[in-house]
């Protein structure tokens, strides 16, 4: 056959565009981790919080307490090595976590909140207190037990930052809001808070870069996999069908191999489409947590992945193929995508299914009407800060994990794309998610598409996109 180009494929070339798109999705997820909290605070508490990036930094550094206590000032006295703690040290970590959890609850409405006043049902104060204390103790135990794992570090950071973030509202932004200051002054105030936070972290930790102590390899299906190093995902298109091969370049181990004949590919696609559409039909007209589009998409994707896995047949790397491509992706980036999706899922459920979430959306829509309807908008505002802190804590640790090093300015550099995403989304929570992926994709695809552009230009590209969009629609995409 004349038209077919046979590619020798022991090592397929990287398709830069596809690679850029996938990296872009990972970057978008990374931005979304912070943008969720930023947009919540911006739209509901009406604070364009420049300190949000530094909350992420705070989260990243806080995890050191669990992960590498030997590097934390004062705590180093309670350690026996970089990672190992004395019993006192463990108790201290337990106490910090428990106090963090209780503090976050306290932020929702003082002592009453500890008694359960923020619950949808009004329990007796003793019951509420007992539940809260039990929960705090449980989280504390998990953290104390699981340290120095980085995942536990995320929980720890989440709890601590969720307690600290509302303090900004209580002691700074709330005070200024009472004075009815202009939005411009609020921006200046938040810039000052950012300054205090950033250099506060530097005061404690010093200016040198830090890093987590993490086991880069985990066991997956018996194989040892390095999560931080990129994996090669090779896809081959052949006469007879598709072949997928996932390898670990370090260990040279093969993580997954599968091949599908064209017939099977068509069947999988068809069945997935039918399942997706069925899911859509099933929910049509409903606006629940799982709306028609969401359910359809999830069902379709699940069917696709499940069928693909089940119907894959083994094989070996083909000698030649019509087309071959390689995408590099680390487990870590995959994890970030999954984490972002998970957090969005939690947020979505919260906003759609819980009374608090609905009150948040209502307050964001029309604060005064929310008050008229009997919503305690102050509590809603505080809960938004708690959530934003929680997400910032978790997001910060993830960032530190991904970047490899923790620096004082890491949060600020991610803040700019976050703001671009939030403004693109017209300062709504769902818009911010959308904006995050637009910005993430624009950054990565832009670097790829413009030859000669160095990677330093990622953030500028985000802003060029933002400015171009604002030129056309000054109120943002969804605004």
């Amino acid at each position: 056959m004349q038209g077919k180009i046979r590619v020798r494929c022991t090592m397929p070339p990287t398709t830069a565009l596809l690679q850029a798109i996938i990296t872009g999705i990972a970057t978008g997820s990374m931005i979304a981790l912070g943008a969720i909290g930023l947009s919540m605070v911006y739209s509901i508490a009406e604070v364009p919080n420049f300190a949000h990036g530094d909350l992420l930094t705070l989260g990243a550094y806080t995890a050191l307490v669990v992960n590498k206590p030997g590097n934390v000032p004062f705590l180093e006295l309670l350690t026996t090595g970089t990672q190992a703690r004395t019993l006192t040290g463990t108790v201290v970590v337990f106490l910090i976590t428990a106090v963090g959890v209780l503090g976050a609850v306290y932020a929702l409405g003082g002592v009453d909140a500890l008694g359960g006043s923020w619950w949808p049902t009004n329990p007796p104060a003793a019951v509420g207190a007992a539940v809260h204390i039990a929960a705090a103790a449980a989280v504390g135990l998990v953290v104390a037990w699981g340290a120095p794992s980085i995942v536990v570090g995320m929980i720890f950071s989440g709890a601590v930052v969720a307690t600290l973030a509302p303090l900004q509202e209580r002691y700074v932004f709330g005070k200024f809001r009472q004075k009815n200051v202009s939005l411009a002054l609020m921006l200046v105030v938040s810039l000052a808070v950012a300054f205090v936070l950033r250099y506060g972290i530097q005061t404690v930790f010093g200016g040198t870069a830090r890093s987590y102590a993490i086991q880069p390899t985990v066991d997956v299906f018996g194989a040892s996999v390095n999560v931080a190093v990129v994996k090669f995902i090779d896809l081959y298109v052949m006469d007879g069908g598709l072949f997928l091969n996932v390898t670990d370049p370090v260990s040279d181990g093969v993580l997954f191999t599968g091949s599908w004949s064209w017939l099977v590919v068509v069947a999988i696609l068809a069945v997935s489409a039918v399942v997706g559409y069925a899911g859509y039909r099933f929910r049509r007209g409903e606006r629940a947590i799982l709306g028609p589009y969401l359910l359809g998409t999830i069902a379709g994707l699940a069917a696709f992945v499940g069928l693909s896995a089940v119907l894959a047949t083994g094989g070996s790397v083909p000698e030649s193929s019509l087309y071959a491509t390689r995408v590099r992706l680390s487990i870590l980036r995959m994890f970030i995508i999954v984490l972002a999706l998970g957090m969005m899922g939690v947020l979505h459920t919260l906003l759609r299914a819980t009374k608090l979430g609905k009150a948040m959306r209502a307050t964001s829509d029309n604060r005064e009407l929310a008050q008229i309807r009997g919503i305690d908008t102050e509590r809603v505002t505080m809960s938004v800060w708690v959530l934003a802190g929680l997400f910032a804590g978790i997001g910060g640790v993830t960032l530190g994990f991904l970047f490899g090093t923790l620096t004082i300015t890491m949060g600020f550099f991610i803040l700019l794309p976050m703001f671009a995403a939030v403004i693109l989304g017209g300062i709504t929570i769902y818009g911010a998610l959308f904006g995050s992926y637009i910005v993430g994709l624009a950054m990565e695809v832009g670097i790829f598409a413009i030859p000669g552009l160095s990677a330093t230009y990622r953030v500028p590209i985000a802003f060029v996109v933002l400015i171009l969009v604002l030129l056309v629609k000054p109120e943002g995409i969804t605004g």
């Binding site: 413009i450 030859p451 000669g452 552009l453």
Partner: protein, 323 residues
């Protein structure tokens, strides 16, 4: 064009979201007369004002001021087009040059060529978007300052005084074509500016005198009472010497003594040849002051005539009291 009516509104339409605020209103008014615009709440009077004074873009219909379509008045001048297109050209030229640099290196020829290409693209983009705006989407300009320059000025329902500036400064701000408003003059032709300023100060002193604001001359406008603010707004209008004045509720919240003074000032200005269009809820004031009254209801003109006609018009009463 002097025989054209001072203001002619024809089939004016404006929608906000799903709500039609103005739905085909037409009326006209003449020099040297006071026209009252009344109607129940939500009849679209203030929106009509905003449309006439150029703060909103109409969805349909035309407004002519002294025979000229206000859209034409608000169009950018040649000078503005020049500034915008050259700004666009230099911006894109810079972009082109940097792109050339990134793609092909530092040779001056490449840089120059890329810059020129970028500049050309910039000019093209500017005029292209203008053309698309005008032809395709029926773009309507909203640049109220051009209308004020042409001689039509408005006041606001909720007074908008410059709170941190004094009464005197509020007045001094108003006159058109002040030499000192040009940065170059302010720095290098200070003599001319000082003369100009002295003349304006004299005018302002007269206006202050006329409106009896003497004792408040150096008071921050933010400290004035509601009625005094209304007076101050009127004073700014006087400083401008326009042909047509649109007054949005000039006596709302003003005590009776001040109301009389405002009414006298309006009447005497009318006699000097100013045209007025007034929205006001105080019926006594509007009936006494107006030469003609236009009644709006649900975004349309319901009726038009002399104050006595309107008072006897059953349809008007119905509109107010409801069916």
């Amino acid at each position: 064009m002097t025989d054209a009516p001072l203001l002619e509104v024809d089939d004016l339409r404006k929608r906000f979201g799903g709500i039609t605020a103005v739905d085909g209103a037409s009326f006209s008014l003449e020099r040297g007369t006071i026209t009252g615009l009344i109607g129940p709440n939500g009849a679209g009077k203030t929106t009509t004002f905003d449309l006439i004074s150029g703060f909103y873009r109409p969805d349909g219909g035309t407004i002519r001021f002294e025979g000229r379509d206000i859209q034409k008045i608000m169009r950018p001048t040649a000078g503005e087009k020049g500034i915008w297109s050259s700004a666009s050209a230099s911006g894109f030229g810079l972009l082109g040059a940097s792109a050339g640099r990134v793609l092909y290196g530092v040779s001056p020829a490449v840089l120059g060529g890329a810059a020129a290409l970028g500049a050309g693209a910039g000019v093209g983009i500017y005029f292209g978007q203008a053309a698309v705006n005008n032809r395709r989407s029926g773009f309507k300009h909203s640049r109220p300052f051009r209308l004020a320059r042409a001689g039509m000025v408005r006041t606001f329902q909720i007074t908008r005084e410059l709170e941190e500036m004094t009464v005197l400064e509020n007045l001094l701000l108003a006159p058109q074509h002040q030499d000192g408003e040009n940065l170059f003059n302010a720095l290098f032709r200070r003599g001319t500016v000082a003369d100009d300023e002295a003349a304006i100060r004299e005018d302002a002193a007269e206006v202050i005198d006329l409106l009896d604001l003497d004792h408040l001359r150096d008071e921050r406008a933010g400290n004035l009472s509601g009625g005094q603010r209304k007076l101050l707004e009127l004073g700014r209008v006087l400083m401008l010497e326009p042909d047509l004045v649109l007054l949005d509720e000039p006596v709302a919240g003003v005590n009776p003594a001040l109301t009389d003074r405002i009414m006298d000032a309006i009447a005497s200005m009318r006699d000097e040849g100013y045209g007025f269009c007034i929205v006001e809820h105080d019926m006594e004031v509007i009936m006494n002051l107006s030469d003609r009254i236009v009644v709006m209801s649900e975004g349309k003109k319901l009726s038009e005539g002399s104050p006595t006609d309107i008072q006897q018009d059953e349809a008007v009463l119905e509109a107010y009291l409801g069916g």
